[in-house]
Symmetry: D2
Subunit: 339 residues, 4 copies
């Protein structure tokens, strides 16, 4: 039989995206195997482990990291725990895939980067859009000079509605730390020869105006000025009633590329109401191939020791710097200089 010597991966965090990543390792990647799951919530790891046929379930991350055959971890806990767990995993010598945001402060970002470097373990961050075929082709077109120098750039995230979460359970500034962080990475990645110098943001609670007084924000527009003069706009909203809408646009001196389409497939229905297409309703549907490919890339880096072009701790720090500036800009209602 094909010699399959899978990378032995442990999952930390058995929530929505953690479960999906666990399933990817267990069911969609031939070169990896899921050998452990940890989650502090009583029974959460065990339940997912049973579903996926995984032998070892933990409520304690440290215990999991001590499992001798473990080679790599996927960190998919709530964001505020990412850095500490990442450092712990690095010290245990495990290769690390960390969901975004890697950290919530620049200090933590530096600490995470240093820990991985000091342990010599690969560290990859979950900016999955880079593996989406359209976005990857867009970046390739930019690299090939097909649109000249970028001048106006756009990236947007609209999460599918209806919005059913409880605003009280969502940390302050989540739209910047967790949602727009994707767009900030995308904008930096699509403008590879430029450095951001200024950020100006507007945000509001339009989906849940009743939660505005508590500081909840569900809608935001962030403008970023780069040192080469180019101007980027990132935009997010928590409730797109038509589905999960992720798009990018880079306009340059020689042309433009656009990427992303909420339409689910080329299947088009023509009926008495007109012409219509179904849409992506979940990130895990839209990006199933991109999510899998980023883990395949990570798994490969565990063996090669090199993440190559995959998003690094530095990339996570760069995106975070924009998020922090955007938060400051909203707080002050003024542009904020970077660096």
């Amino acid at each position: 039989m094909t010699s399959k010597n899978p990378v032995r991966v442990g999952l930390i965090g058995a929530g929505r995206i953690g479960s999906f990543h666990g399933e990817s390792v267990a069911r969609r990647l031939v070169d990896a195997g899921l050998v452990a799951i940890a989650d502090p919530a009583e029974g959460a790891a065990a339940k997912l482990a049973a579903t996926l046929g995984v032998d070892n379930a933990y409520t304690d991350v440290g215990a999991m990291l001590a499992q001798p055959d473990l080679e790599a971890v996927i960190i998919a806990t709530p964001a505020r725990f990412h850095t500490n767990i990442l450092v712990q995993a690095a010290e245990a010598g495990k290769a690390i895939f960390c969901e975004k945001p890697m950290s919530l402060t620049l200090e933590d970002a530096d600490r995470a980067i240093a820990a991985a470097r000091s342990s010599g373990v690969p560290l990859q961050v979950g900016f999955n859009r880079r593996w989406d075929q359209a976005f990857a082709e867009g970046r390739a077109a930019i690299d090939a000079g097909k649109i000249g120098a970028p001048q106006l750039i756009r990236s947007l995230t609209r999460d599918p509605g209806p919005f059913g979460a409880d605003p009280d359970k969502i940390p302050l500034w989540t739209i910047f730390y967790e949602t727009l962080i994707h767009d900030f990475d995308t904008l930096l990645w699509l403008n590879p020869n430029a450095t951001p110098v200024e950020v100006s943001a507007m945000a509001d609670a339009l989906v849940r105006p009743d939660a505005r007084d508590k500081g909840f924000l569900d809608t935001a527009v962030v403008n970023i000025r780069f040192d080469n003069g180019s101007i980027a706009v990132a935009e997010a909203n928590f409730c797109a009633m038509y589905g999960y809408d992720i798009r990018g646009e880079v306009f340059g001196s020689g042309g433009m590329v656009t990427m992303g389409d909420v339409r689910r497939s080329s299947m088009t229905l023509f009926d008495k109401n007109g012409v219509s297409n179904d849409t992506w309703r979940r990130d895990t549907e839209h990006f199933v191939h991109g999510y899998t490919a980023q883990l395949a890339s990570f798994v490969n880096s565990v063996r090669s020791g090199d993440i190559g072009d995959a998003p690094s701790g530095i990339d996570a720090r760069n995106a975070l710097a924009i998020a922090l500036a955007a938060i400051e800009s909203v707080s002050k209602n003024a542009p904020v200089r970077l660096g």
Copy 2:
């Protein structure tokens, strides 16, 4: 024969867009006739009059306004002359179609509005995008409640490249006064129940960086916050190498409408290079029907005395207020409150 009793129109300004409007009256409108052309440049009016078969050419606007059978004027001079000519035409009792921007200051805008009101003449401003089929359908969908309350709005203008003009001959802030003024009107028109409260802008010379030191600007992004919390982004650039690109997008609590496509028609070519479409290369191609329809509407208002929903002097003033705030925001590098 069909009883054609055309409205007798005079054209003021025989430049590019003036000539096109003159041609529309002479050749595309059955209910109007072009009876006079005025342009101070020696021979300009006469030359266009000869081409279009118009009997009367003037170098002096006052002389043209004295022509007894004249019922209406189209003002298509450089922008800085608009208000004075408009007031002059109003005082002469002529119905007025004025190209955008109607005025460059709020005082002039007020003066223009007052003059038309005092003379009781119709005053329509050249925000032609409202007649584009896609934009009109988008507004209708918004009015019908199909996307709920607007939250994130976008309007953009990208003029076709290559950019061949001389930056020295372009007045300062033209990108706001003359280009983005269209987008400002569009954004206000597509968000009909909201009032803008704050403007924040970034601009640069990216097409002609050599002219930046003289204050030339060819690229701009303007964010507008409305009193209902919605946030709009207007964006312009003078050099889209792929054609004349005009688009709008309104995202709301219930959905989204998008409008505009640079593709010229449904004719699609599939060849060894892939799949491709030709694009609109000129405003007068893209908007030939919209340009004609706005004049048809104007001509009708000459007879009815009422411009109905057509863009008015007040609309021109509202768009101008945004342009002025954007200019101030760029100058100060800070958000500017309106009103």
Copy 3:
């Protein structure tokens, strides 16, 4: 005023399409005037004349043709009267625009062509799709060699549903004589260097199966083989619930062009049901510019004496030959050789 010396046109047939053409002449063409309307149905011509402000209404075509100032006629009667009226108009020396089908037999087609030629009057046939922007661009791409030699060609007509007509009032074989005749012209026009040699057709009553026994047909597929080996498929149906769907596709040795889109504009709605576009629901909406342009071309030919590339009596005959072969093929259930 612009010197408008309109061509004086008379309309014969005040039905649906006749009324539309009359309105085009009266309201959409600056170079033509509608000076007479004839229709044998009591009051029909008079009623339309009143609506359009036309002075002269007739129930007798001969009387109208005797009107001294009349220069040209538009024949929009039921198809079976076309040829005789055409010959009568030619003998009266009037320029002729005849709706499709010009004739129902090859003998009549020859008679019509001969009459126009002998009188030296322009004769243009109503194959309006040639003026649709997408189709015109497609033909231009073919002429420019962009797709090499045509090999597989498709043209389809789907009339908008629901189907409300009475099958008993529709002449036998109408789908070939009146509907597919457009597609036959399109296929010949898009394959300009080829001659059809064989026709094979299938047809049925699927929209109104209850009328099948009387010979009614509402659905048909016609294959045409050309002398250069290329194969064309024409397809029609009387009841497309999603609108008025007209498309063309030419696949060649070097690529392909496709033309036509039932979507009405670029305005796209995204809502809880997905992504959708409204559609064309009537030919007179979809082709308003093409219908007007074909008449503008005709009007011009009245003055120039030359129809240029506009569809001629010969073109009408060529399309009719395919229709007749398709009818024969259906009757025999066998391929039919042409010529």
Copy 4:
């Protein structure tokens, strides 16, 4: 670790598509393992086995079938060998995935079906388009009644150019047996409640007219009439210079679905030449997910013993019956009745 107990698969035929399927089993399916490869060409199986890390390579199919741990086979030899190998594998008790066409005669098809039935082994045929997302969604829409009763159906296959094969090495009628067989299955599958009753075909050598005299055919159009009156058109050509073009269209009493797009992704380039998209250039790119999914389905059936809705030997026979009728129709230049 996740308990992976993969189905042990042997590949028969190490050519282009066989190698791709072998790679799918070895590298893209977690539930299957490639344990053997057989190919009579000296060294072919061994070479692929080395690439994919497979232990056992054979030049003799019988030897491979004797390998004790083998559970299932993929038959990807030249078409003329399919039936005999299939029967041999069935007699050896192996589950069978057979590439299309399963057989070249109805007798062979019956023999294959009988062998699998008699041995009680699953038999699935390689009609991969059913797993393409767009086609699957189209079928689901039809099943849900969204387009009413099918009336006009289209399926096309255009292989990517340039055409580099040697016509002399391509068996006669390959375009029907191997290419259009996909379209015949698609048309039957998209019209699930109808039975084909008549076939009429036209074919020619337009890509390689120099090979026409030897009976080579590279272009074909096949019309199929069903017992419910619906009419289908299948179309194929060996040389689409713009890529690998697979499309379907089903028009019904209530609407239409269209499926397939040669555009590779939503990444769209706008440059001085207009708007463009890259295209699919190979079946193994376009259908990588569909090809993998059909094998995942097959692998699952090995364990469950039931192929469910997957294409069966009966489906292969039904598509073959159309191919044979099309060949007869071309030979006779006449419609051919089925059944």
